[in-house]
């Protein structure tokens, strides 16, 4: 990747340092914090308790939660798509979806980075987008999607509805754990974190008109989490 340009930096930083009463100092400062309350939240929660929190918060944010074993994922997805009346479906190009739902996935369109215009057009007109969560956060009923070559940032955004398959093994207590992993990828200067990360908690919404909650503004109107217990 070609590095980008940096303009006007020197004077800008000089002005800041001058106001702080010193010269520009580019030695990495020690980050010593007296408090670290984030590690305490849900610290001793069991997996079952985390799941309970996840379910409870998902309901609160207008998100359907369906749970199954991997052997029933094919049927579960089919029933869910029938309930959502989803006719056109676009799915992440992830071999696991075909493996887990061999029958139901036959009718899917697949995101194909080699055909960018077609993929975008399919996502725009799709009733349902299907993704697999890279991580899930119990506290806020959030799924995390990392951008990566071949993957899409918009399957979970452009279609009318979004279904996220969540292997139970990706569940962590809260955003703290996800952030720690991301920070570790970059802390030695390698910039190995993804080019984009989406923390998604339920459907798109707005309260901009009289503080009334409108569910489904620019992004999905309905979101379902399919929690798979043995994955």
């Amino acid at each position: 990747m070609n590095p980008g340009t940096i303009t006007n930096r020197e004077d800008f930083l000089k002005r800041i340092a001058g106001q702080l009463g010193r010269d520009v100092d580019l030695t990495p400062p020690k980050r010593v914090y007296k408090h670290r309350p984030q590690d305490e939240v849900l610290k001793d929660a069991s997996t079952e308790e985390l799941l309970e929190t996840f379910r409870m918060v998902a309901t609160r944010i207008h998100t359907d939660v369906v749970e199954c074993e991997s052997t029933h994922l094919d049927d579960t997805l089919r029933l869910l798509l029938e309930r959502y009346d989803g006719k056109t479906i676009i799915a992440e190009d992830d071999a696991r979806i075909k493996e887990w739902a061999p029958e139901t996935s036959r009718s899917f369109d697949w995101w194909d980075a080699a055909r960018p215009d077609d993929s975008r057009a399919l996502a725009v007109k799709a009733d349902v987008g299907i993704t697999i969560a890279d991580q899930a956060l119990a506290e806020s009923a959030t799924i995390v999607q990392y951008a990566a070559p071949g993957k899409s940032r918009t399957i979970s955004l452009l279609p009318q509805d979004h279904i996220a398959i969540i292997p139970k093994s990706v569940l962590v207590p809260r955003m703290t754990q996800a952030a720690k992993q991301l920070a570790e990828l970059d802390c030695n200067g390698e910039l190995a974190s993804p080019q984009g990360v989406n923390f998604i908690s339920g459907p798109s919404n707005s309260a901009d008109i009289e503080m009334n909650l409108i569910v489904g503004v620019h992004g999905p109107v309905r979101v379902a989490y399919v929690l798979v217990h043995d994955l």
Partner: protein
């Protein structure tokens, strides 16, 4: 739309407009109640809220003390990830750069997600001069844009409008549905979807930039931030220079505080980070990325007694508890930053000349300071502003300067003080009805009454009481 920080009119007129608008006052107080209760619930659920405030404060203070380091690191990493970084001292520099980018792309359609700093620098007007259509895609901002009305709250910008106002605005724009909020929302979805797909350039603000990762983070509920950063080929993010955090770990803490403090949610629907340009093999994300870091008088606040105001994460918790905002509404502040944070920030960013009344638009009750998730001592900064205005700038309202001077002389002499006490009930009587001072002093009496000074002074009362015993 507003141009820059300042709205029109004089403070006294704007304040009166607010007080004389019962719908607005009702809307503001019910919104304040809901947002405040939401914050309190979300804070309670988190557990040790005070420890989170302490931690958030120390993160923000650490960043400000080392701002040169973190901005350097951020710009290095954005550049390594293929993005261009432009440091702008003034709004003019920022706008000129952004116009050049837009011109080089030969772009005609620009779509924006919500950004206070672009309001602050008057970017939309600059882009109009460039011959572009600029569409605000946040629902509240879009309503205001169609209506040519400035925001009145930094999180809920169209708070002062009801569904009938929105219905009227949309109808003028071609809508033929009812005033049901969901139906109105669906219309915005259909209309704005076209803009997202058509735009050559997307422009965003920045809630926090992550120095160590070279990433920009956006906190949204509607999903417009994701649209603006995923669909257009060119993306420009504009950030106030203080909005940087060291790593994803601090980002997480502050995002949690922002979501809970602003809207009472554990996390908003979308927390989105994006780092430079998209990778090879990705369809979504920008081919070209620019980060514009804006000073616009912020550096002048560093190293002064007002430095802590730069800790602000723009959650509006202080606005949602302010009794003065409740009565006069957002527009009365005459700044795109209303409420306690606006009363502290606007004079610093745009001069005392235009905002010398704002530090007085406060009851100094301290509710703002208590609500602030990053522990900015807001009411103390308001007092400090008053001190600067009175002592250093000599810009306080004339009456107040005379009154304060009078009080200093009078109270230093027992004889004069006693005389003043005895005169007070009579001197105030032209302004009073039934013992309440309620007329003739509009700056005070339009919004509140004051008991008329008692005929008997406390000391007289005490003396007589002593004699009686």
């Amino acid at each position: 739309m507003s141009m820059g920080i300042r709205l029109d009119e004089k403070f006294q007129d704007r304040r009166k407009d607010g007080i004389d608008n019962p719908f607005m006052r009702q809307a503001v107080s019910s919104a304040q109640n809901r947002l405040r209760d939401g914050r309190l619930n979300a804070a309670g659920e988190l557990g040790d809220w005070e420890a989170f405030r302490d931690h958030s404060e120390e993160i923000r203070q650490h960043v400000l003390e080392h701002l040169d380091y973190y901005l350097h690191q951020l710009s290095e990493n954005i550049s390594k990830r293929g993005g261009n970084v432009f440091f702008a001292e003034t709004p003019e520099e920022a706008n000129r750069y952004i116009r050049e980018v837009v011109r080089a792309k030969d772009a005609k359609h620009v779509v924006k997600s919500k950004s206070m700093v672009t309001e602050e620098i008057g970017l939309n007007e600059a882009l109009h001069e460039e011959g572009c259509t600029v569409v605000e895609s946040d629902l509240g901002e879009w309503i205001l844009q169609l209506d040519n009305d400035p925001p009145s709250h930094i999180v809920a910008p169209a708070l002062h409008k009801d569904r009938n106002d929105v219905h009227k605005t949309f109808t003028t724009h071609g809508y033929d549905g009812t005033n049901d909020p969901t139906e109105l929302g669906r219309y915005a979805r259909r209309e704005l979807r076209k803009d997202f797909l058509k735009a050559e350039v997307g422009i965003t603000g920045c809630n926090f930039a992550i120095a160590e990762s070279g990433a920009v983070g956006l906190v949204t509920n509607e999903g417009n931030g994701r649209m603006v950063t995923s669909l257009p080929n060119t993306v420009i993010s504009v950030m106030g220079m203080e909005r940087v955090v060291p790593s994803y770990e601090e980002f997480e803490v502050l995002v949690n505080m922002l979501c809970r403090s602003a809207v009472g949610q554990r996390l908003t629907s979308y927390i989105t980070t994006f780092a430079g340009t998209k990778s090879v093999g990705e369809v979504d994300g920008p081919e070209e990325f620019h980060l514009v870091i804006v000073d616009n008088k912020r550096s002048g606040i560093l190293g002064t007694q007002f430095q802590s105001v730069l800790q602000c994460i723009r959650c509006a918790a202080c606005i949602n508890v302010c009794p003065v905002y409740r009565h006069i509404g957002g527009h009365a502040y005459g700044s795109i930053y209303p409420g306690p944070i606006g009363a502290v920030l606007a004079p610093l960013l745009d001069g005392y000349e235009n905002y010398k009344e704002l530090p007085y638009a406060s009851s100094l009750c301290g509710a703002c300071t208590e609500a602030c998730p990053v522990k900015i001592p807001l009411h103390e900064l308001l007092i400090e502003h008053r001190r600067v205005i009175v002592e250093d700038k000599k810009k306080s309202p004339f009456v107040e300067r005379i009154a304060m001077k009078g009080f200093a002389v009078t109270s230093s002499s027992p004889f004069l003080f006693e005389a003043a006490e005895q005169i007070a009930p009579f001197a105030s009587s032209p302004f009073a009805t039934a013992g309440q001072i309620d007329k003739g002093l509009p700056a005070w009496t339009d919004s509140k009454d004051l008991p008329q000074p008692a005929k008997q002074t406390v000391r007289d009362w005490f003396k007589k009481r002593g004699n009686a015993q």
